[in-house]
Symmetry: C2
Subunit: 301 residues, 2 copies
């Protein structure tokens, strides 16, 4: 089943202890769409400037991503640059040029509106709500947010969240959103805000799925080399939602949600193995399934 | 099968954001022995001073721990005091009074020497080696160490390690011992030093078991409240070794080693729920097995 993905498409300048690259295809919608495309047809909603590269369009097309909703606006594409710490656990933003993204008002093409699966990448909560309202038959809606919106627009975020089935955030965002330090308590509060499923991403340590009836914890994949963690969280979201859409999962199918967390972890781990989207671009479904089986092997007892 | 446990028995002064206590029974051998006692008969080797409390002797006896090897020396029992940070992830040592522990030369009672299972708690590597040599039929030897010995006595540590089947250390110690930041590489180097099994403890994030033929990762148990993490790593060691001794496991039984990691995690998680050894003292085997099943439930997919 088709998955509609809304978010940013950007160019990134990235510096890690392993190298430096200046104009890599990036943005939340990019990583989510590419990761999801291994599981299900994807329809992207985003905006780029007139500097957007034909080779990048080509990469999306190679992954059969529907670009009807990729708006081209006069001006430059969103640009972000950052530098990572030696252990890759922290990053400092050097530049954020919103450019055409500053006036992004996501409009869904007619053909997108009847899709059953929707993932709202991290954009302003009011925009996320507008997209949600344009969908007429949505069966499973997932979304992401960030510290900026939790702090600056808590009311709008709360209203938006109420309409979601799944919220995917990281541990520090979960603590901030709930005002609780312990994740178990944080989760209980967040599940009262609307989403029936909460996924808390913990970076290299894995992820936790919380639902009222129980929880699921997976450790992270143990990578030998992490070259660039940019986009790992979005790749997780793409693997997670892509699997659910491809499987035509019911939003309350707990077993499918657990498998989706593993596919999310698999995609997040691959993402870190090379700079930008390079690893996702070269990946095969066979490699994905082999790593899924590796998760089964190393967690089984 | 009996498990011989060597290490420290101490009094601890502990301050966490949840409270303060001044003279709690502590020390590595204490936590290891109490945790292991739920699975197998334990024989302790340690030294205490003439201030050692009858109530604490009584606690060991209640857990059927053989105290023949608990030496009483003139002077005071080892005393340690420390204060934890707000998130409990760091601690600062306020006092270390070695007292009678300074001259500890572990001597194994005759009846201990033919035991098949031995765990060497964190003491000076040369002393660990001396204990190892006194055992005549040891089938499975595990041990712990710390940053102090890795830095100060690397040669002695390397010699000692060569005789062990299992090394249990935390992630920062594994990095220090191997000189490798990535755990996968660190593990590969450490497995070349002697032990065929390496367990890396990651605090709240769980633990990893490494062997040449494969690895196993478990997430940590998600505690709602952590009151005092003192002794959690030693309780892990006790649950791990206690299970293996009780099951009469072969040192290369990978499946048993995985289950032992879960029992270790279970015991480490219980330890944090109250101050000092309080939770271990009130625990039942039924509670332990219930939490083991909870691990099965929340990791299964």
């Amino acid at each position: 089943m088709s998955l509609v993905v809304v978010g940013s498409v950007a160019y990134d300048g990235i510096q890690t202890p392993y190298g430096k690259a200046d104009r890599l295809l990036g943005g939340s919608a990019t990583y989510i769409s590419l990761a999801a495309s291994f599981f299900t047809p994807v329809k992207i909603v985003a905006v780029v400037g007139d500097d957007f590269d034909a080779a990048d369009v080509c990469l999306f097309e190679k992954h059969s991503i529907d670009l009807t909703g990729l708006e081209r606006a006069p001006g430059k594409t969103f640009y972000w640059a950052g530098v990572y710490s030696a252990d890759l656990n922290d990053r400092t933003t050097l530049t954020t040029d919103l450019n055409v993204f500053a006036d992004f008002k996501p409009k869904l093409p007619e053909a997108y509106r009847s899709a059953l699966y929707l993932f709202l990448g991290n954009i302003q909560p009011t925009l996320q709500a507008q997209v949600r309202r344009q969908m007429t038959r949505a069966k499973l809606v997932g979304g992401d947010t960030m510290n900026l919106w939790i702090r600056e627009t808590p009311k709008e975020l709360a209203e938006t969240l109420r309409e979601w089935d799944v919220l995917l955030i990281n541990d520090s965002e979960a603590r901030m959103l709930s005002g609780e330090f312990h994740l178990y308590r944080a989760a209980r509060k967040i599940l009262e805000m609307g989403p029936k499923t909460l996924i808390i991403k913990r970076g290299e340590y894995g992820a936790i799925l919380f639902r009222r009836e129980g929880y699921f914890i997976t450790p992270g994949f143990l990578l030998e080399d992490v070259y660039d963690p940019t986009g790992a969280g979005d790749s997780f979201a793409g693997g997670f939602m892509g699997y659910l859409a491809g499987f035509e999962a019911d939003p309350n199918d707990h077993a499918a949600l657990r498998r989706a967390v593993i596919y999310g972890s698999v995609m997040g781990s691959f993402c870190c193995e090379q700079f930008g989207v390079q690893r996702l671009a070269s990946l095969t479904r066979e490699e994905i399934d082999a790593r899924y089986r590796e998760f089964q092997n190393f967690t089984h007892f």
